[in-house]
Point group: C2
Chain length 292, copies 2
DNA sequence: ATTTCTAAATCGGTTTTATCGATTGATTTT
DNA sequence: AAAATCAATCGATAAAACCGATTTAGAAAT
């Protein structure tokens, strides 16, 4: 039993005339006759009565037609769904983001959703390591993070933009009017930093090491909103990429001077995995939004 | 898209291993690989990610699998239904009966239904002409009537039994103790007969004509139960086959003497039309019940 | 690093089968 | 009685399903 045969059968049932049905199906009458016969042989029951040259449905044919139609419908429903998927009428996008790039995603998300309201999103915040692991387990379509030290061969990387590392302070401090600040100056300030799992922290610690500086880290915390809350008190400072606090009220970012004091935001996805249309469209929108 | 390909796809999805899936499907790995590829080409979307030697489902594959499964299920449901049909688990039997043979059908019907309770019946009472027309329009599977004058080539005839024409009277009349009665005697009695559309009436009128007798018909009526009601009053007599009143209380049948004063009950069905299993089984039971 | 192993893709050839055109046989229409 | 119609059948051809062998490329083992 094949869908082709079911289609032939239903057309023959509809027209009750093999010659016309064959013509409507763009096949020869002999082909239709043979295919119907083959189907009947397989089902072990005639679907049509052959009374002379006239044909009529048998009871079996009548009953079977319902299921034949449903089988075809289900298959074409599946096809329809895939079309929708390509037209972004459905589908799910799973994105991993490091907290530093929160605003990049949210801005694009708001824009994209208004244009393609049917696409579902799952946004996962986490450290780069966590996200990369999920990406490898096919739990994420793409992750948005700052460049990693080690690049992996089965990943596809796409640069988005660069953002300077910055000392983040409350809005009103003696430092506020500075255009930039040296790493040396930073090391003397009371710092509250993200935990060591965060790549930003790893990055800045490496910089301190290189310069033989010993920063004054009094707090380590693994939740950025809480960290920012503390910074707003004015009692601590922190170090983040400038992008991280782009839309934050009551905070001020002073770029840290020196070479290599910038980080590059990247999109990371798996090579060789089929790219969902919805993901491609979303990333396109995200990138357009970022460069402007 | 063919059911074969959907089956292949689902097995590959289940095992996530083309080699094993091919083995489970009793086809070669190369065939499976090709068929999946062909399906993907038609759907215009990959169903599997080929990441190195591992394969995983794509989102499209995951979504499509649901419909693929449903399509297959519907087809196999149809197959199942046809099996049931052969096993008399379902199906409809449409029988046309002339009223004279009512008891023959009801007796068989009660017996058959207890053995095959799921079979549906449609019993149509009517004159032979009406029933034959319906048979020709495929609205009936078989009709049960007395032999027709003209036999048609596209009908299949099966004799059941013969039954004498009889004068039907109320239980208590001066005639009750007679073993038989001549047509001549009958013609002098006040008669209430079925309408001229009934074959029994046509049959008896022809007999009267042949003998140059003029029966005393005071009532013609096209409903047999009503006719019998009138006979029970004792004011009229009627002429029917003996079988007709076999199970009737308060009525008495006196066979009419003379040659050709019997009628043959027959099963009539269409030649060349597929015989429903349920119909065949029912008729078998009916015939066994009639001969005993 | 190198080798071995494994699994999917690919290639060339074979078998199967879906298809066609022509014909036949039977029925209906003219 | 002749012509037209329609499904079935036949023989031939083209399509495609299938296979075994080979290739390719990760993964695992050495």
């Amino acid at each position: 039993m094949e869908l082709r045969q079911l289609k032939y059968f239903l057309k023959a049932k509809e027209l009750l005339n093999f010659t016309e049905a064959a013509s409507a199906l763009y096949i020869s009458q002999s082909t239709l006759s043979q295919q119907i016969k083959q189907l009947e042989d397989e089902l072990q029951v005639p679907l049509f009565n052959r009374i002379g040259k006239r044909i009529t449905l048998t009871e079996a044919g009548d009953l079977f037609a319902v299921y034949a139609q449903q089988s075809i419908n289900k298959a074409s429903d599946g096809l329809e769904l895939l079309k929708d998927l390509n037209n972004l009428e459905t589908g799910k996008v799973a994105i991993g983001v490091t907290y530093a790039l929160r605003h990049v995603v949210t801005k694009a998300l708001i824009l994209f959703s208004s244009q393609y309201p049917k696409i579902q999103f799952e946004i996962v915040f986490g450290t780069s390591q966590e996200l990369i692991q999920k990406l490898n387990h096919f739990q994420l379509d793409v992750i948005l993070t700052f460049e990693e030290i080690a690049s992996e061969a089965h990943f596809k990387y796409l640069e988005l933009f660069t953002s300077p590392m910055a000392l983040v302070t409350a809005s009103e401090t003696p430092l506020t009017n500075k255009k930039s600040i040296s790493l040396d100056e930073v090391s003397s300030l009371p710092l509250a930093l993200p935990s060591s799992g965060f790549s930003t922290t790893q990055f800045i610690n490496k910089a301190f090491e290189k310069s033989n500086l010993h920063p004054n880290v009094t707090i380590e915390i693994n939740d950025i909103p809480t960290l920012l809350e503390l910074i707003k008190t004015g009692k601590w400072h922190t170090i983040l990429t400038k992008t991280t606090i782009e839309n934050e009220e009551d905070l001020h970012a002073i770029p840290i001077s020196g070479k290599n004091m910038t980080r590059t935001a990247m999109l990371i996805s798996l090579k060789e995995v089929y790219e969902k249309k919805a993901v491609v469209a979303f990333l396109k929108m995200l990138m357009e939004n970022v460069t402007t």
